[in-house]
Structures are given as C-alpha cells and as structure tokens.
C-alpha cells in the first residue's frame, strides 16, 4: 500500500462501525440487541459442543451410525469397497485431468503445472467439511484401524489419480464404463455378508441417495422429453407419470413400496425391500427432475433449434448436441437442490423399519446406559453427517457450474 491511500485499518474500522452500526440511537440499540442474541447463541453452541455435551453416546455407537448392524466379521468387505471406489474415483479424475490438459494444450492455453502435494492440499481445502468430519471420526474412534483404513483410502485415490494420468488416450472409455461396472461387482460382494435389507446407518443413507440420484436423472430426462414429444400417446404418458408422482407424498410412496406392492405382486417375483424403496425414491425424484429439465429445455432459445435444423441435423441430434447440453447447464442449481432434498428425504425409510442414520440417533437413546437427555447429542451428530454431505454436494455443483459456464456468456 502506498502512502497516498486510505488511513490505517484501525481508524477506518472504527469509522466503519460508527457509520454502519451506530449512526443513530435506534441503530445503536438494534446493534446491541443483535450482538447480545448472537453472543448467547454462539456461547451456548460452544458450551454444548465442548463442555456440557456428553458425546459418549456417539463415541460408543460410532459403528452403528456409520454402517448399522453390518456383521463385524465382514467389515473388511466395507474396507475393500471403500478402497476400490476411492481408487476408481482417482482413476477417472486422472483420465479427465489428462484430457483437459491435452485439450488446453491444443487450444494454445496450456494449464500451469502444480505439484502433487499442492493438488492434494487444494483438494483438502475444497472438501474441508469432509476432511474435518473424517478427522473427528478418527478422534472419536478408539482403535488404530479406522486411521489405517483412511490412509489406505487416500493412498488408493492418489494412486488411481497417478495411474489415470498415465493411461493412453484410448483408455478414456474407462471413465464411462467403470461407474457402470463397479456396482455390478461390488454389490454382490457387499451383500454376500448379509442381505442388504438389513443394511443401516450412513452407509444405507448414502447408498439409497446415490443409487436413486443416478437412476432418477436418466428417467427424469426421458419423462421431460416425453412431455415435449409431438406424439400424443407419448406425451400423455409423460404428463401422467409426472403429475401422478408429484402429487403423492413421498412418505406414502415409501410405505406403498414396502407394504402395498405385496398385495399386487406375488412374493416370488417381489424384489427386496431396498430395491423397492429405491424405486420409490427414483420415480418420485424423477418426476421433479423431469419438470426441472423441461424448464431448462424451454430456456434454450428457439433460434438454437432452428440453426441446428437449418444445418440439416436430425431431430435426435438437435436435441442431443444443441438443446440438451445448454438446458442441463442452465438447471444445474435446481437439479442439485433436488438431489440434496433427496439425500435428506432418505431418512423417511424409518417408517418402514430401516435403521438409517436418523433411526440410529433415535435408537441409541434407548440403550440402557443412555436416556432421552442424550437425544440432542445423538441427533446433532446425525445432522452433522447430513450437513457435510449436503454442503459438499452444493459446493461441488457450484464448481461444476463455473467450469461449464467458462467463456459462454
């Protein structure tokens, strides 16, 4: 800062306070009251978290929170799954990073190189809620095993990333194939220990949310396109499905999936409870996704379609290459909002007897050594798990938005 610029920060800060907080007597009163309320809230939160809160209930039941009643002898299956998923994610990130780098080079604007350590630090800052949560979990756990598992997972991700960046260009298809192959391989592996109808904890929450999100997107897309179709029959089916499932409360669908489906389908072909409830979440969310996507499709100017048509592109290609990419980019915020909503709505499975995170928080207060006085701690921890998930989703979607929006408008 040069000598000619503004006065010292302290002076300006005092001046700022006078101007914005204490300009009139009424301003001063409002400022003081607000400050007092804020102070009480912050102080009570700190006192609860660090002093009065009895976090024993969480520490003792950490396993229950995270993976429900998964058999202890088979926990290694979870570890293997975690490491494999992590390595795959790293691999895909590596492949994508390499392609981005090559593309940037071709465009004449090569990306600056960063060291591996720099990248890891950057990623840790980006995903800080996850990092903080994992650190907290490790602090709460009593053995060394969780730390080793965490290290193995991180190492797998780094290894995957490095290998992915080394793969030749024709390995790019792996980035599309692996996410499809992985569930097919991992699900039988995980369910070998115990049927998945007895899954619980955060594992169940993430599983329900992830599968429903992946499945509801293509279904919602198809419904949205069906609703805009020029074929009357297709349009009627699209409108019917969308309006029916948007009009029914989700909790009714969840209950129906568990109870009522049994009246219509014979037991022999009735899929498991988890599958049924995933179908309920998927169709319900797909109806909302369809309306979001339809809004996006309408936001693309008519001239875009006309320009593509005038070039002789087929209706299919006009939609796939010109209209949809723009429509989807426009609706990322709404879409992610819907996904976050879905993530939290998975707690509704408690009505059909699943032991998800929220049910765990309720159940542990009924253990003999704890009581309802511990309810605040038990639910606060469950809330933290959900917040970390939702906030990360939200942040990553903003990042995606920015990346896709580069240089376009």
């Amino acid at each position: 800062m040069t000598a000619t610029t503004r006065p010292t920060p302290t002076a300006s800060r005092a001046a700022w306070a006078r101007k914005h907080l204490f300009r009139t007597p009424r301003d001063s009163v409002i400022t003081v009251i607000t400050a007092a309320v804020l102070f009480v809230i912050v102080w009570r939160t700190i006192r609860f978290v660090f002093f009065t809160g009895r976090w024993e209930i969480v520490r003792v039941n950490l396993g229950l929170y995270l993976y429900g009643r998964y058999p202890t002898d088979d926990l290694w299956r979870l570890v293997v799954t975690l490491v494999v998923i992590s390595a795959t994610a790293g691999l895909i990130a590596g492949i994508i990073a390499k392609r981005t780098r090559i593309a940037a080079q071709a465009a004449g604007t090569p990306l600056p190189g960063t060291s591996i350590v720099g990248r890891i630090v950057e990623l840790a800052f980006r995903l800080w809620p996850v990092v903080v949560l994992v650190a907290l979990l490790l602090l709460l756990s009593e053995t060394i095993t969780p730390t080793l598992v965490t290290l193995a997972t991180v190492a797998a991700a780094i290894a995957g990333r490095l290998v992915g960046a080394l793969l030749p260009k024709r390995a790019t298809f792996l980035a599309f194939v692996l996410p499809g192959v992985l569930p097919v391989v991992l699900l039988p592996f995980l369910t070998a220990a115990q049927g998945w109808d007895d899954w619980g904890g955060f594992m169940l929450t993430i599983f329900l949310a992830a599968v429903s999100m992946l499945a509801c997107f293509p279904l919602g897309l198809v419904l949205a396109l069906a609703r805009r179709s020029t074929l009357p029959a297709v349009r009627v089916i699209g409108v019917g499905v969308i309006e029916f499932f948007r009009g029914v409360p989700l909790v009714v669908l969840v209950l129906m999936s568990s109870v009522a489906l049994g009246f219509f389908l014979p037991q022999s072909i009735l899929p498991g409870k988890v599958v049924r409830v995933i179908v309920a979440f998927t169709i319900f969310t797909a109806a909302y996704v369809a309306e979001i996507v339809r809004g996006g499709l309408q936001s693309v100017p008519r001239g875009q379609t006309e320009a593509a048509q005038a070039l002789g592109m087929s209706p299919f290609r006009v939609t796939g290459w010109i209209v949809l990419p723009q429509a989807l980019r426009n609706v990322i915020p709404a879409l992610v909002g819907q996904f976050i909503s879905l993530f939290k709505d998975t707690t509704l499975v408690f009505v059909i007897g699943f032991l998800d995170v929220l049910s765990v928080a309720d159940a542990v207060t009924k253990q003999s050594q704890f009581d309802l006085a511990n309810f605040a701690e038990a639910t606060a921890f469950a809330s933290l798990l959900f917040w970390v998930g939702s906030y990360t989703l939200s942040r990553e979607s903003q990042r995606l938005e920015q990346r896709l929006g580069v240089g376009t408008r």
Binding site: T109, L311, G312, P325, L404, V406, T408
Partner: protein, 263 residues
C-alpha cells in the same frame, strides 16, 4: 455472379431468372397462413444458379417467412417449392436433404454458445456428413481464414463481437458446402461499424459464384451485388428489378413510399 443486366432492365415478373445457368430455387404459387393471417400470397419466384437476389420490404411483409419456407423452418400451405431439382415434401429425409444443401444465416446469429468457434463450424459436417474430425477441423480453419478471423478458432461465441459472430455463422453454414445461402437480415442486429465486415464477406461469397437470397435493407449491398431486387409488401411480390431500377425508376406507389422511408 452472372452477367449483370443493364441498369434499365426491368423484369416482367419474379420468375424471370437473371443469367443463363438454370434454375436453383423455384417457388410456385406458395401460400402461407399463420392461423387466419395470410403471410404469403401466391408467391412465384425463380432463382437462377449463381444468382444473387436481394429481398426488401417493410416488416411483416413476409420476406423472412418466404426464405424460411425454402428450408422448411416454416411449412408452406399451398404451392410447390423446388430446390436444385428436389421438391420439398413432408418427409423428414427429404427436408433434411434440402437443408443440407441450403445454408442459412440468421439476424441474431444463433451460434451455439456452449461450443467453441471451431466446434460450431465442425459439428454439422461431423454429425450430418460423417466427416472425420481432422478433415472437418482443417476445413473449419480454411473457412475462418476466408471470413478473416482465423485466430478466433478456440474462443467461444460470447467472447466475440457481433460482426465476428455473424462471420462465424456464415462459416458454419458454408461448412456444409451448401448450393444456396439464405440470409435473413444478417446485419440488422449489428452495430453500424460492424455491418461493413459482414457485407464484405457476403460480397466475396457472391463473387465466388454462390447462389444467394438475402433479406436486407442495405441498399448499397443491393446496388453492388444483387442481380435482382425483390420488393415485397403484405405477403406479395410487388416489384422486381435491378437495384438501379429501384433507385431511379420505381413503378409502384408502395415501392416509392417504402424507398422514401429507408433511403
């Protein structure tokens, strides 16, 4: 461009083609309705190969509707439209076949904002003509050089000026190697200082022998480039002639009124 008719040449009707190269586009008794409103009334027009036709007229006169019927962005209700010997029908294959041969440039550019300039130009040849990527990109670079912005290939449309965007739009249409180019008020959305660069591009295209129909109010362009000028009003072709004819000796009252307003 064909041999330019003399300054005093007056065409009896719009089906009299300038030059001798044969007919590229033929409109025969074309009507077009928007609900109860008749936008085109019995349009008869022939455009010869390598001919440049400029269409002028007040807004709402059906100029844009007419050229949008030629590549079926609007469906005509009566009459026949024939492009390079193929009659436009309701069959989507037939429509796409005609669209492939017919480039169009819009008033509002309509570039694809999510694709780079290079991708804007290569997408149609690659998707519609199955051209290999390398070949399509080489061709795109050539076209960009032709419209004098080779250095913008990797930018996005939003990063270009209006004049540059419209030149990319021309390059995008040319990438399909069309036999006809349709221009729908290509300079109307541009700032005055950018109009020249787009008209220059269009003029050199005409000089290379492209068949063109241009809806525009640029009378200077009409005078320099057009073989024939068509004046339309209320969905009808009112008067046909050379640009000189319109400047010096317009016949119809409606033509005189319109010209007095724009000149």
């Amino acid at each position: 461009m064909s041999d330019t008719p003399g300054t005093d040449a007056v065409f009896a009707d719009a089906t009299q083609v300038a030059g001798t190269g044969g007919v590229m586009i033929e409109l025969d008794g074309v009507d077009k309705f928007f609900d109860d409103f008749q936008a085109l009334k019995d349009i008869n027009l022939k455009v010869g190969k390598q001919e440049v036709v400029v269409v002028i007229g007040p807004s709402g006169s059906g100029k844009s509707t007419m050229i949008r019927c030629i590549n079926r962005l609007e469906k005509h209700d009566n009459g026949r439209i024939v492009v390079d010997g193929t009659e436009l029908s309701d069959d989507i294959r037939n429509i796409q076949a005609i669209r492939r041969e017919t480039g169009m440039v819009f008033q509002s550019f309509n570039l694809f904002p999510h694709l780079s300039v290079l991708e804007n130009i290569t997408i149609a040849p690659r998707q519609v003509r199955n051209m290999p990527r390398a070949e399509a990109e080489a061709q795109a670079q050539e076209l960009l050089t032709r419209v004098k912005i080779p250095e913008q290939a990797n930018k996005y449309p939003g990063q270009l000026s209006g004049g540059q965007q419209q030149r990319v739009a021309i390059a995008r249409a040319l990438a399909m190697k069309p036999k006809v180019m349709l221009f729908d008020e290509p300079t109307s959305a541009l700032d005055p200082e950018m109009i020249g660069e787009v008209l220059d591009t269009m003029q050199s295209l005409a000089e290379e022998g492209m068949t063109m129909i241009c809806v525009t109010h640029e009378m200077g362009f009409a005078r320099n480039v057009a073989d024939r000028v068509l004046f339309m009003a209320d969905g009808e072709v009112v008067e046909v002639g050379t640009a000189e004819h319109f400047f010096t000796d317009p016949q119809e009252e409606r033509t005189k009124l319109f010209l007095s307003q724009i000149l």
